[in-house]
């Protein structure tokens, strides 16, 4: 049985149904609310998640017993392809629950924890946020200090988190805390922290886009029940990494598909932009440059498929996640930078100016470019990814500490 990139008949049936459903559901869901209208955003994001759930498309790969579809990895890939194609609503506030908190519970949670949270996450009833990074523990996550001290059947939490996404509207936080002050990696625990507990203070941290999707979070004597511990005490580092490693295979699938679309949009844009009477697309060099970028995107897409084939067959994800992350985030930045350059002076405005063909918005392109700057930093900067690849995959000696 040789290498085969084709989808199975089952995959294609799934695709056909999903495509038909999206064709109606996406326009029906309407336009997204303004960026800083938090109530409306929660409603819009949750509403879409609920529609996905009702149609059977929430948690494509999640177990059926918790409300998931229980489908294959390739069906998940088809899901990404079709939702990108239909320009379906972005996962938005459901991100942490669907992509991170939920999968962690599936892998490491108790039956009670799974029952309590997974169906609600899938139905859009529970929004999660992430409490990992701290001001002094960014790239160096093992340096985290937020303390959880056992007091009877509670942990008492004190400390400060940063880059807590959607904290204003979240119901739960996946919280990494230090339960052993004397250990490094082995003194960390993973807790489910309800966001309505007393002692939690949220301070929005505007990004360079001006949005407040992220916050600083201060916890002071917050009492989290012991049963909210996921995995064993002091085993939170492993719990996190297991999920991260599983996640990385497909984490960028949706974004890569989006990037393929962007390159086609750039061809359209290039035909529209004229200089000295000729369109930018008339310039062979631009066609080549876009071609080159497109080839790189295609190769990353093939890497994702390779990774998924590996995972589907062996159950063990390869180590290539860091390579996909590094390759994708750097490439993504180069592509959007070229797009903004192509916009010329129109790129000086975040509101759309002039008319662009095919529903392209100059403002959207510029903002997406700005957003690419975060991806080479967040979730392990490009520098950290290179260390990981070199040390863990290629076996280079670790940094002297």
């Amino acid at each position: 049985m040789p290498v085969d990139l084709r989808y199975s008949d089952a995959d294609e049936t799934f695709r056909k149904d999903l495509r038909a459903w999206l064709a109606e559901a996406v326009p029906a869901h309407g336009a997204p609310p303004p960026r800083n209208d938090w109530d409306a955003r929660r409603e819009w994001d949750s509403g879409w998640q609920r529609k996905l759930f009702d149609a059977g498309y929430a948690g494509v790969q999640w177990p059926k017993e918790y409300g998931g579809r229980g489908a294959s990895l390739t069906e998940e890939l088809v899901y990404y392809e079709e939702t990108a194609r239909a320009q379906a609503p972005y996962i938005g506030m459901n991100f942490v629950g669907i992509r991170h908190g939920g999968p962690t519970l599936i892998a490491e949670g108790t039956e009670l924890q799974k029952q309590a949270h997974l169906p609600r996450i899938l139905r859009g009833e529970e929004i999660w946020c992430q409490g990992f990074s701290e001001p002094q523990a960014g790239s160096d996550l093992a340096a985290l200090k937020t303390a959880a001290v056992r007091d009877g059947d509670h942990y008492v939490l004190n400390g400060q988190k940063i880059w807590t996404s959607f904290a204003q509207k979240a119901d739960y936080c996946e919280m990494l805390v230090r339960t052993d002050p004397d250990a490094k990696h082995r003194g960390i625990s993973w807790l489910i922290m309800p966001m309505d507990l007393p002692g939690i203070e949220i301070r929005p941290l505007p990004t360079l886009l001006g949005e407040t999707d992220f916050s600083e979070m201060f916890v002071e004597d917050v009492r989290v029940p012991v049963e909210n511990l996921v995995g064993a005490e002091n085993d939170g580092w492993r719990v996190t990494n297991v999920t991260l490693r599983f996640e990385r295979g497909t984490a960028w699938a949706a974004d890569i598909i989006e990037l393929q679309r962007m390159l086609r949009d750039m061809a359209t844009l290039a035909k529209h932009v004229t200089h000295d009477g000729a369109s930018a697309w008339d310039d062979k060099a631009l066609r080549r440059e876009i071609g080159h970028l497109s080839a790189e995107v295609e190769s990353l897409w093939a890497m994702v498929k390779l990774q998924i084939s590996e995972l589907a067959k062996t159950g063990v994800p390869g180590l290539g996640g860091s390579a996909i992350k590094l390759g994708f985030t750097e490439l993504n930045q180069r592509i959007y930078e070229l797009a903004t350059q192509l916009l010329g002076r129109a790129g000086m405005s975040r509101s759309d100016v002039g008319e662009l063909p095919g529903g392209l918005g100059s403002g959207r392109i510029v903002e997406k470019y700005l957003n690419t700057l975060s991806l080479t930093i967040a979730a392990g900067s490009s520098q950290i990814q290179r260390n990981i690849i070199s040390e863990r995959i290629l076996g280079m000696p670790r940094e002297p500490r």
Binding site: H272, H275, D276, S351, V366, L373
Partner: protein
């Protein structure tokens, strides 16, 4: 041959630098967002000679050249000083009151045909608008332009207006003047981009020394060191190219002035963007926040890059210049 900054020049540079540091400190950038044109600041800059720098003393100017202007504008770029500074400088001697700061002048370069939208910087508060066209220079009363304000300009410190079309205005110069102003504008925007290279490196260096991860300053890691070193090389390339272009425009160069100017503008735009991006990366997560200064520089680069000729145009000028030399 003398390519060093002289004592007089250094004093001028230092004067502007300390003015900027006191008047528009980097930690006050937030307060300057989406503000209308700061007329008071504009007046103070005029008094310091920023606009009349190259006018003869008999015309109320300082009688200096592009070399000095480049040094001054590098300082202005370094501190992200706001206002249509380059246009007001170019207009000195051409538009009444531009040199003295009484009339704020903004402008638009339309020498190359394109279907780009008409975007005007600092239209509100300006008296006149200079328009460079291939055939000559026009002056338009700012009040005569119908334009709507852009709600969210990319650079929060550079207010923008969008106009569907521009009125005719009056012709105030021929094609030669238009070409000269465009060249000078390119040098001055390259100089401001040099300032961006300097400040982003300065910021990244300071952050590299102060921010600790894995138990030591991140600037001690080669990953960061090498980013900073590459920033330094780019900054020095830009500095050399900008000084050379200005000297050549002053008639004290050895080569073709168009080539020297294209070289400076091309490298300044590209390298300032790379350095601003690198600065964000060195800052890590904090570089992605609005609270930290790097993003202001990155955004300003887009404004300056899109002034007085695109990178593609300048690269072509330099490349095709080689042909003539060949053999």
């Amino acid at each position: 041959m003398d390519f060093r900054v002289t004592e007089d020049q250094a004093a001028l540079q230092e004067g502007i630098r300390s003015f900027c540091e006191g008047r528009v400190p980097v930690d006050a950038l937030g307060g300057m967002e989406k503000q209308p044109l700061d007329r008071e600041l504009h007046g103070e800059l005029a008094e310091m000679g920023v606009f009349g720098l190259r006018l003869e003393e008999s015309e109320g100017g300082v009688g200096l050249g592009m070399s000095e202007a480049a040094l001054v504008f590098a300082e202005l770029g370094r501190r992200l000083v706001t206002g249509p500074l380059i246009w007001s400088h170019l207009a000195a001697g051409l538009v009444d009151g531009a040199g003295s700061g009484e009339c704020v002048v903004t402008g638009l370069d339309r020498t190359r045909a394109s279907n780009e939208p008409i975007l005007l910087e600092y239209l509100e508060g300006a008296g006149s608008v200079l328009v460079l066209e291939a055939s000559g220079v026009r002056r338009i009363d700012a009040a005569a332009i119908e334009a709507r304000a852009i709600a969210t300009p990319l650079d929060p410190l550079t207010p923008l207006h969008h106009a569907a079309a521009l009125p005719e205005g009056e012709s105030i110069g021929d094609a030669a003047l238009s070409a000269r102003l465009r060249r000078e504008g390119a040098i001055l925007s390259a100089a401001m981009l040099l300032g961006v290279c300097e400040s982003t490196l300065e910021l990244a260096v300071a952050y590299g020394q102060q921010r600790e991860q894995f138990g030591r300053p991140i600037g001690g890691f080669q990953a960061i060191k090498h980013i900073l070193a590459d920033m330094y090389v780019r900054q020095e390339q830009v500095r050399s190219a900008v000084y050379a272009a200005a000297a050549t425009a002053d008639g004290r160069g050895v080569g073709d002035v168009d080539r020297a100017v294209a070289t400076a503008k091309l490298l300044a735009g590209e390298f300032a963007l790379k350095n601003a991006r690198a600065c964000v990366q060195v800052y890590g997560g904090m570089g992605f926040t609005w609270e930290m200064p790097p993003h202001y520089y990155l955004k300003r680069v887009f404004v300056l890059q899109n002034a007085f000729g695109s990178a593609d145009e300048h690269a072509l000028t330099v490349g095709e210049g080689l042909e003539g030399d060949a053999g």
